[in-house]
Amino acid sequence: MRTSLVFAMASSLGLLATQSALAAESADSNSMSRGAYIARTADCTACHTTDESKPFAGGLAMPTPMGDIYSTNITPDKSTGIGNYSLEDFTRVLREGVDKGGDHLYPAMPYTAYTKMSDSDIKALYDYFMNEVKPVNAPNQESDIPWPLSMRWPLMAWNWMFLDKGVYQADEQKSDAWNRGAYLVQGATHCSTCHTPRGLAMQEKGTDETEKGFLSGADLGGWHAFNITNDKAAGLGSWSDEDIVQYLKTGSVKGKAQAAGPMGEAVEHSFRFMSDSDLHAIATYLRSVPAVDDGKTMETSRFTQGEPVAVDMVVRGQDPEKAMDSSPGAELFMGNCATCHAADGSGSPDGYYPSLYHNSVVGTTHLDNLTRVILEGVHRENNHGELFMPAFGESLTDEQVATLVNFLTSTFGNPEATTTAEAVGKLRSKD
């Protein structure tokens, strides 16, 4: 069971030159089935599991400008789940965003990406859901979108305009690893869903590396999904392949970036279970995604901003009440952050507590992520244990959080980046 399983793709896809490029591989030293592995790569659990004791029973509220929509029960329960789906029904959902009843799904379901998955991967995924997932009786919840906006037929037109149906087509000019990476990034791991900016109709501006804007960064749900193109300043151009693999595996690259929010969840539920060869394939592909800069030339990237500053020297030896008035940012930092991140912002030597300089979220101009991490904290698992940062949303006011964020960027990060109490308040309401 522990043998590393390598699956040849179905012969029906023989038109593809590089069969091995699309072969799913199970995580090392892990006995999960091929279908379970594919479910990990597609991170189905991110949206379809709300209660850990009832995997895939759905019910996650996803806000849209028109009202909340809810993820559905995809357990094999016959009355409320997908127990009556045939392989054809299941394939149609992933490829076309149309359910068994003929209704169009909202494109919150990333079928514009899943459409690229191979027949054999979809079959394996289908077998996994039918045979390995426990049926849970949990009726689906109607969306809160009011009529007439709740009518779903216009989605047909949306699909006609924006859905690029069809299995991933390998590029014979590229390596197996590149093709495997492209297949995963464009398909199952659906990176583009968050990292590609969307147009007026909420469509992604590009679904592969040939389209300008693909993976160039976007704001979504109160978080910023960073530019992960190959641009040296704005994207991941300065990272090594190993950095990318380590980030996906652990959510942390010391002196560069740490995953929190939705990316933290993607690492926790999906990427850390993926094989090294798949993660390397993703890195290989990402390096080839054409660089998109952010409109101005940065002297240094968001990963290299800032340096250690001994903040304790500013406030030590003073009456703390007076120091709170004269240097409120420094006092908020010392009282709330410095115990773990160190008084000079250097974090811990092992990187468990990240440094605040040379830190993506402090060095960027997009302050949503830093602000939300302060408000909500971080709590996720990696393959070595749990990572935890307490939430400060209850103990600090909007004004204090803004003061702290501005202190952090001006001291350890990008001094041009500033926020306001109002902006903090707006992010707080997205909790």
Binding site: Q318, M334, G385
Partner: protein, 527 residues
Amino acid sequence: MATQHKADVVIVGSGVAGGLVAHQMAMAGKSVLILEAGPRYPRGDIVERFRNQTDKMDFMKPYPSTPYAPHPEPSSGDYLIQKGEHPYDAQYIRAVGGTTWHWAASSWRFLPNDFKLKALYGVGRDWPIGYDELEPYYQRAEEELGVWGPSDEELGSPRSKPYPMSPLPLSYNEHTVKTRLNENGFYVVTEPVARNSRPYDERPTCCGNNNCMPICPIGAMYNGIFHVEKAERAGAKVIDKAVVYRIEAGEDRRIKAVHYKTPDGTSVRVEGKYFVIAANGIETPKLMLMSDVGNSSGMVGRNLMDHPGTGVSFFASENLWPGRGPQEMTSIVGWRDGDFRSEYAGKKLHHSNLSRTDQMTSRILKQDDRLILGNALDADIRDKAARYVQVDSFHELLPHPENFIRPSATEKDALGLPKPEFHYAIDDYVKRSAVHTREAYGRIAQLMGGTEVEYHDNFANNQHICGTVLMGDNPSNSVVDGDCRTHDHDNMFIASSGTMPTVGTVNCTLTIAALSLRIADTLKREV
């Protein structure tokens, strides 16, 4: 006076006891109002006050006393009025969250025999409830507070389930001393503490700042504030700076209301169905005596107890480097129980892991026979701080009605409310035990190659305020029954170490927490 607030359950005091009851009742859907005399202190401010204070051993300094709700200040205060043979130098915090803001988080269960001291050894009192009745609540309390404890050492208190967390590894200092003592006939165990060894209850893992007292800077150690905040999230309301000064009983002997003063002296009346007084073992009896409620037994304020402590310090013959990790992780527990308890007090000894760098520095600088500077000074500080050993103890004082606290007839605070006045003495039961403890100290110093051995025979106060509203079956000589309900008033409960009729040999917070959860279960059946 018009009633200005109403709630199903009105709780006076927002420490670990009040916070736990409030959280449970709010979760049960009841309207809950907590009245707290002191202010709210943000953790970050406390941390920064501590870091800027010069005397790091003054554990009250980061919590400034207020004129409207003064509390003890060891370096400058005049709040506690001492009239007895021995000062009762209590330190407690009047602030939202209470005194567990600064504690070492020791979370011991009592031993089954601690509940029947009179029956077994003919001294002190028996509890109206036994260990078996409290065991499930001890377990729940450990889960609520987040307690780590050893799974491979016998602590003498039978458990229905394992500790929620396993301990962090012992520091080199504690591991070395524990091993040496256990090889030589002592019984040293890893102490159960309410501190995280992994992320627990949305709080981080201890990273060893070594200033549990006076403030855990990251909230890895449990503080009462966490249950106050959880209660608030569940719908409870907290009014801070609300100094309750009167409990109002009706003609049917049910409590009708409590009255509080705001810092400017305005009086506010609060009605409730049930009242829980959780204002610690000193402010609770003071308030009851000021209000003349619950005292038909005449026992309110009496039987004041604590754990009179002695200690020893010396320099070991080897480097131990105290200061890595939490301030205390081990205890010597071989004398918590035994037939000797009919003659002298049971006790627990504990080995300190405080960093002593600052104390050794001032000790060296105070030496007037020589002046050392530069590298020689650094080397001397390093050497002494690395070899310093301190062991302290808790002795079980017995309940004596003549040890008491009462509202001072003459001394008032800024709101005109009486200060607490103490009449307290150390009994021979403790003094006899301390002689034996001193012998144990000498043996420990010898085993560690100790030099410059100093004994601290001062019977220091350890802030375990018990007995002042004690529980018992007999309403003529106790204040509350086994459910912590006052004998005199059906709808008034007391959640406090004050209800404990004996003080045992260990820190009382976990027992306070267990009794509080038990009170909440009773209230859920009635409210």
